[in-house]
């Protein structure tokens, strides 16, 4: 018996890294899962690696455009009949710069990727969940949703912003059987961090990519990075029926970095 038997989940950016970890954990707990990503080939690859079968599907699309956020909800309902768990997970840092050097284009990219995508997906999912009086929305924020490091102002700003959005929405739907929470992971060495980390490190004034990883590890109590499994376990808990009384929280999975 799984903790998510009979549930249907959609995960933006779920082909790799944190979203992928959530997808695998949800599947193990008995849910049906739709994962999303920009690259159809990576999507097919992910489905294959997760064992394929009738309980998992892929929806292609870039989370930075509204049609993807709307589309994954429609696709999930069409494919599996409903949507119980919406994980708004896609996001990242790209072409970052310190504030005084940041261009409008770079800023807008962060807004669309990390904030607008969460708003679009949340709005669309709530419109399905509210009439059904049940649902779980889980936003992937970051330890940078409460702290702030130099050189990644767009990331820090948007990861803070989604917490405000999450708190307001939690209050709006609190009596409707729907919870809205955020998970705040510490740094995890995912594919996307390997790809974008070296450039971010430069903009953050750290000499090397390893220096960036070391800075995050040193800020924690455990003096190591986090893992996708740690985030996935928290997501399973928040998605479960037993978590109906947990909403509006900023759920740290950061090895003791945040002091609050």
């Amino acid at each position: 018996m799984g903790k998510l038997d009979g549930k249907v989940a959609a995960i933006t950016g779920g082909t790799r890294s944190i979203g992928r970890g959530m997808a695998e954990a949800f599947l193990r707990e008995g849910a049906k899962v739709v994962v999303n990503g920009r690259d159809a080939a990576k999507g097919e690859q992910a489905l294959k690696e997760m064992g394929g079968g009738p309980n998992i599907a892929f929806f292609p699309g870039d989370a930075r455009v509204q049609s993807t956020a709307d589309g994954i909800v429609d696709f999930t309902i069409e494919k599996f009949g409903k949507l119980d768990i919406m994980c708004l997970n896609s996001g990242g840092v790209q072409n970052t710069a310190p504030v005084h050097m940041m261009t409008n284009e770079e800023w807008q990219l962060e807004m669309d990727w990390n904030l607008n995508s969460v708003f679009w997906g949340m709005r669309k999912a709530l419109n399905h969940m509210i009439p059904r009086q049940t649902g779980r929305i889980i936003v992937t924020s970051s330890v940078e949703g409460k702290l702030g490091k130099p050189g990644i102002p767009g990331y820090a700003a948007t990861k803070h912003a989604v917490l405000g959005l999450m708190k307001a929405a939690a209050k709006e739907v609190g009596t409707l059987g729907i919870t809205v929470n955020a998970i705040l992971p510490g740094l995890i060495e995912t594919d996307i961090v390997r790809e974008t980390g070296p450039e971010s490190a430069k903009m953050m004034g750290v000499e090397t990519y390893e220096g960036l990883l070391e800075m995050f590890a040193q800020e924690s109590s455990i003096k190591r990075l986090n893992t996708v499994e740690e985030v996935a376990a928290a997501a399973v808990m928040l998605a479960s029926d037993a978590a109906s009384g947990i909403t509006g929280t900023s759920w740290a999975v950061d090895g003791g970095t945040l002091p609050y």
Binding site: K171, S221, A242, G245, T247, A252
Partner: protein, 258 residues
């Protein structure tokens, strides 16, 4: 079975939140020592839990260092070690506005909630640190983040637990031992029914008014349940909980915004 083979001690575990946590741990494969002051209530709890040799009762009061030492030692004697400590026992009597508050009430609340957490944690760490694995879960409260009038003894003690937890987490972070707080909203447990009316009076409310106030502050507009706390305790106690420490996890239906 996320806690297969683990050994847990839950202080104040015969009823309410502690009992629910004990049941959840047993369901996940752990051996659990529950504790309470009354042997009768302990025997009753063992009967109701019906978990054979997977659960053991130790009578004792956490309001002294010796009492806490005996609980940790008794757990190790019974099951060989202590992997998971849940500092759950607590409460407060003698509520009054600060201007009228008597010393004994503040001291008793600090001993019952905060000193007991410190004492049990210290003895548990002496078994956990050499083995480089452990989970300590402190039951704080939404009042460990907020503050209500008339109940400063409880609010102060719960805030103290939060501060203690943050410091301790930094000390032991690299040694495989985590320490966290769960901050539940109000739950109508037996102890709430026992102590709530006096607390309400100190706050200028009826007991029902007290419950309504807590519910109205929450996004879910209801009180919480012991099961909601237990599911979080299970997560924190699990292997995956190894990356979560020093944190004040709210189980309050959206009351505390932080």
């Amino acid at each position: 079975m996320e806690l297969q083979g683990k050994v847990a001690l839950v202080t104040g575990g015969t009823r309410g939140i502690g009992r629910a946590i004990a049941e959840a741990f047993v369901a996940e494969g752990a051996s659990v020592v529950i504790n309470g002051r009354s042997p009768e209530k302990g025997a009753q709890a063992l009967k109701e839990m019906n978990a054979g040799d997977k659960v053991h009762f130790l009578s004792g009061d956490v309001k002294s260092r010796e009492g806490c030492e005996a609980l940790v030692k008794g757990t190790i004697e019974r099951y060989g070690r202590i992997d998971i400590l849940v500092n759950n026992a607590g409460g407060a009597t003698g509520h009054a506005p600060v201007v009228d508050l008597e010393d004994w009430a503040m001291q008793d609340a600090l001993v019952w909630n905060f000193w007991s957490t410190f004492w049990c944690t210290q003895y548990a760490l002496r078994d956990m640190l050499p083995r480089q694995w452990g989970r300590i879960i402190n039951i704080s409260s939404v009042e460990g983040k907020h503050g209500k009038p008339g109940v400063s003894i409880y609010v102060t003690a719960k805030h103290a637990i939060n501060g203690f937890t943050k410091s301790c987490a930094q000390e032991i972070g690299t040694q495989g031992v985590t320490i966290n707080c769960i901050c539940p909203g109000a739950i109508e447990t037996d102890i709430m029914k026992d102590e709530g009316p006096a607390a309400a009076q100190a706050m200028g409310l009826t007991y029902q008014g007290l419950l309504d106030w807590f519910a109205s502050e929450a996004a879910i507009k209801r009180l919480n349940t012991v099961e909601e706390v237990a599911v979080v305790a299970t997560l924190l106690a699990s292997e995956a909980g190894g990356g979560m420490t020093g944190t004040m996890y709210s189980v309050d239906g959206g009351t505390a915004a932080y």
